[in-house]
């Protein structure tokens, strides 16, 4: 068992490909810390990523890892988890990856409730392709494909996950390092589909196009917009405007799909044996 975060990483793959000031390295660090604190067996742990900046996470973990097609990581993981139930599988997804191109897979994964943990690196923009508008870009914000300001209404990933049936949903920011580690740990420990949305900063594109080019300033701006769930309930509608609730937002006990399927297999095989015996 490894118990130091660096023991879970392919140190020889560093430095990573992310831009200076990017929040993705902080989320990746938090994931490595969560793995170490849980003392996960690297041989029985896998990281699966999609396409985009977040997808590069899969290359950094020193364990079985997969870099899938765009938006499909959660379904690759579905097939893998069903045939290897003992594996702990963590998904590293971007906002465009998870709920843009992979939106259909994401909501169905929430509904199916397999024991997977999805970390969503939400930087509200398509970074790897050069700063295009995402389904999470706030209204009026600029991107290379919304040069006059975004006219669309964004998805709230955590609320979408809750509505679709995910059984553990938490949201935090790349500013709140301790919370990232805590929620990722709880997500991994939770038996069911866990979603940890991390609001993070992309100074290179989002920042440059929206007058927030300093990484710290941008990180701080994200933090300033958030309100912990413990305080959220006391706020009026007006006070909530423009704010984002963070914390553990949802926890539910519901049958986990892999267990349900293996129960079905056991039941069918018992029936088969009985019918053979009785014949």
């Amino acid at each position: 068992m490894a118990s130091e975060p660096r023991e879970y990483l392919r140190i020889e793959r560093l430095p990573h490909v992310w831009c200076p000031g990017c929040g993705h390295g902080m989320i990746t660090h938090a994931l490595a810390c969560a793995m170490a604190e849980l003392e996960l067996d690297p041989k029985q742990t896998a990281v699966i990523g999609g396409i985009g900046c977040s997808g590069r996470t899969a290359f950094l973990f020193d364990m079985d890892s997969m870099h899938t097609t765009h938006g499909r990581a959660v379904v690759f993981a579905t097939g893998l988890k069903l045939v290897r139930p003992a594996l702990t599988i963590v998904l590293a997804l971007g906002d465009g990856d998870a709920i843009g191109i992979g939106g259909n897979h994401f909501i169905h994964a929430c509904r199916r409730n397999l024991d997977l943990t999805a970390i969503i690196y939400n930087n509200a923009i398509y970074g790897q392709t050069g700063g295009q508008v995402a389904p999470t870009t706030p209204p009026a914000k600029k991107s290379t494909t919304s040069p006059y300001g975004n006219l669309e209404h964004p998805f709230d990933i955590a609320r979408l996950a809750i509505a679709a049936g995910a059984t553990y949903v938490a949201r935090t920011t790349s500013f709140d390092f301790a919370d990232m580690v805590k929620f990722i740990k709880r997500g991994i420990q939770h038996k069911g589909f866990s979603v940890i949305e991390v609001l993070t900063h992309c100074p290179t594109y989002y920042g440059r196009l929206n007058d927030l080019r300093d990484p710290y300033e941008m990180l701080h701006t994200i933090k300033e917009q958030t309100v912990p769930i413990e305080e959220w309930d006391q706020l009026s509608e007006e006070e909530r405007a423009g704010k984002i609730v963070i914390g553990e937002l949802h926890r539910q006990v519901r049958p986990e799909f892999v267990e349900s399927y293996y129960r079905l297999i056991a039941q069918m095989q018992r029936l088969q044996e009985n019918s053979v015996d009785g014949h």
Partner: protein
Amino acid sequence: MREQELVQGNEACARGAIYAGCRFFAGYPITPSSEIMEYLARELPKVGGICLQMEDEIASLSAVIGASWGGAKAMTATSGPGFSLMQENIGYAAITETPCVIVDAQRAGPSTGQPTKASQGDVMQARWGTHGDHPIIVLTASWVREVFEMTVHAFNLSERYRVPVILLLDEVLAHLRENVVLPEPGELDVISRRHPERLENFKPFFDETMVTFGEGGRLMVTGMSHDEFGFPAQGKKAAEQLQRILKKIESRAEELAIYRAHYLDDADAVIVSYGITSRAVEESVRVLRAEGLAVGWLDLKTLWPFPEKLIRSCTEHAQYVLVPELNAGQLVREVERAVGGRVLVEHLGRLDGYLITPEEIAARVYDRVECLKGA
């Protein structure tokens, strides 16, 4: 002795899959292939396997690839519209050398087309549907028992060579019920993927041995061009790896060729057919032979890699080659290319969703042979 039973083409495919060791299926309902998933949803749990209905065909093949890396023999089945959606991940399976079987029960197309009518219109899509140069094996079948055999064979080749294998059926064969005696356990070879002798220093993308997730192999699997360890590579290394996986299949074109040859020794005219159309050819050859015409027949089961040398040798002494297929002309071009202009090659197609009849084939061959005699 096993008794005859009435079996549908789709059911034969599903039973062939279980026989071959398939323990994971993911699919999406679509005519005319749905019965494959229905059968496996009922039967796979009884043998410890998993059958999953997904949200679409993209997800179906994604789950199949994930399951294959988990160590399961895995399959999906669809028809044209779903097959189009799967093209993205067919490329992923090809470059990551993931064993998996994709069944496409062809319908008349394009687009939604005629869901309950047969076609052989996906022959080129099966070969070239996903972007970029890539290896692929494509098999087909003409009879219900053959659907069973070819499904087993598709798994064997896929596992043996770490390559996606596509099995092309069509609406008529998928829904056809025939009296058959299906193979007994042990009657057909069942091949599984090979494991390297040691995990130590093994290269996951170097040969046909494969390590799966959860074994401690610290695998890195990516659809990006990669080196033998699975990490992104460009330039010469990327080209070398691509050439290796292409050569793995293309260099074995002749040994992978499954076919039946009939009356080719003295044939003046050769019919090259595959899939459902071969059933009509069988009857037309019988009629033409009875008429005294020296007609030969090459019935292909492997379409890709295309058995070029086989076509050349079978048509060497012929004066006329006919390629009947339910499309506007797809495999005929490969035949033309192989023959290289030495012989007249003609296409006989049909696009109305109905099958080419033995009479149509016989009439065409008869006319041409008479014509060539006169010349």
